[in-house]
């Protein structure tokens, strides 16, 4: 074992192999966090739609969730990167293939975001549906519109209830971001593989990558736990924590 390899000048790019690792970490964080923002927003909207009494709103959300949740992420990654430019209108396809800035990166973000949205949607839906119907009745009975009932009654409690499963989804997105290497995003796993190929230090390269993934997920876990405690409802039975 010799971790000094990371201080050696890299094969290309002018820096050391440590710079490759840091660059990979940066792209892993960027892909994951941007994808999470998409997943959280789109997933919340879909999750809410799946709980509405209107079938015309529920049906498309259900179709979305079933499609995106049940197609392997790797396949989706290839579809976004290789297939989509061929099936969109010609002008846009040309733009995606030639002039789109950082196409690998943005396709990875969109793919991971819209895929994870389907999973977030299911969590949000189950959170809302775990709230007794009487809460909705109480909100409607005092004259709130259905939208206001979601805004002030169902979502604040629903999100609190699903913080633990949402934490899992948030952690998973960092791990799933490694799939982006298949379309050429030089994120952490890709860099680790590259270092191992250039230096034959496979063990060291993937050990460092592992440690960084663990550190990222630890920070996320602690952050979400802090959030959970911060929004805990006094006296509410069933809320996590002490």
């Amino acid at each position: 074992m010799d971790f000094s390899v990371f201080l050696q000048p890299a094969f290309s790019g002018g820096g050391t192999y440590l710079d490759w690792v840091l660059s990979g970490t940066k792209w892993t964080l960027l892909v994951s966090i941007l994808a999470w923002i998409i997943a959280f927003i789109v997933g919340s909207v879909l999750g809410v739609l799946r709980t509405t009494p209107l079938a015309v709103l529920r049906a498309p959300a259900t179709v979305y969730v079933e499609v995106f949740r049940n197609v392997p992420l790797l396949v989706q990654m290839f579809i976004w990167y290789f297939v989509l430019p061929e099936i969109v209108p010609l002008g846009m396809g040309d733009w995606m293939k030639t002039r789109m800035p950082m196409p690998e990166f943005w396709n990875a973000v969109l793919c991971l975001g819209f895929y994870t949205a389907s999973r977030v949607a299911e969590q949000v839906r189950s959170g809302i549906q775990s709230i007794p119907i009487g809460q909705t009745y109480a909100g409607l009975a005092m004259g709130l519109t259905r939208g206001q009932v979601y805004r002030h009654v169902l979502l604040p409690m629903g999100y609190r209830i699903v913080i633990p499963p949402l934490t899992s989804e948030f952690l998973t997105i960092f791990k799933n971001s490694s799939v982006a290497l298949t379309i050429g995003v030089l994120e952490l796993t890709a860099q680790a593989r590259q270092i191992s190929e250039y230096t034959f230090r496979t063990f060291e390269a993937f050990t460092v990558a592992t440690v960084i993934y663990v550190l990222i997920t630890l920070v996320v876990t602690v952050g979400m736990r802090t959030l959970e405690n911060k929004v805990r409802v006094p006296g509410y039975i069933g809320s996590a924590g002490k």
Binding site: P132, G134, A138, G143, Q148, H152, V153, P156, Y236
Partner: protein, 242 residues
Amino acid sequence: MIEIRNVSKWYGEFQVLANCTTRVSKGEVVVVCGPSGSGKSTLIKCVNGLEPFQQGDVVVDGISVSAKDTNLPKLRARIGMVFQNFELFPHMSVIDNITLAQIKVLGRSREDAIEKAHALLKRVGLTEQAPKYPGQLSGGQQQRVAIARGLAMDPIAMLFDEPTSALDPEMINEVLDVMVELAQEGMTMMVVTHEMGFARKVAHRVIFMDRGEIVEDAVKEDFFGKPRSERAQHFLSKILHH
């Protein structure tokens, strides 16, 4: 004030309300009783449109609940409702529970809403509990907050759906006392309850329901003195002698 005209409702094949007709005049207190599954809770939820019905109509203060062009939230805001399981919003303090609809539905200023809430909390004997959360209160206290929440909207009538059924015996009276006081002040009330003591004390009329039908609809003295139907006699004998 409240007119229920030939209301019928089915869940699929099963008829839960059969041609129900009755009325509650201004200042009148009407108690609805009957065995479980008799449709009394469903009937009271039809009054403010929480339960849709297939036939008949409910007219509140001249406005039809089932008409397409009725602004239901606006109508509901004028009718207070208290539920069996309190249905306070667990993530909001007592004061926020009472001010939410005042601010969001009636458009009152926050200061006015808080002032109103404090006055009502004083009235139900819970001045000290304003900053607490529902989970920190006893059932009886929660139900009194729920009554205050309903009254905060200056309703033209109050609906009570088994307000004491989920309470421990020692807490029933603190809630009934508030309701008796309300009745004596002339509030129009429709109360689903098995508390025949309450009915004897303040009700003007008693409605007895069985299998979705209004079997008996009589002034209090007649109902307790000489119920006409056998089913009402049977029901009374069961709940009064033990």
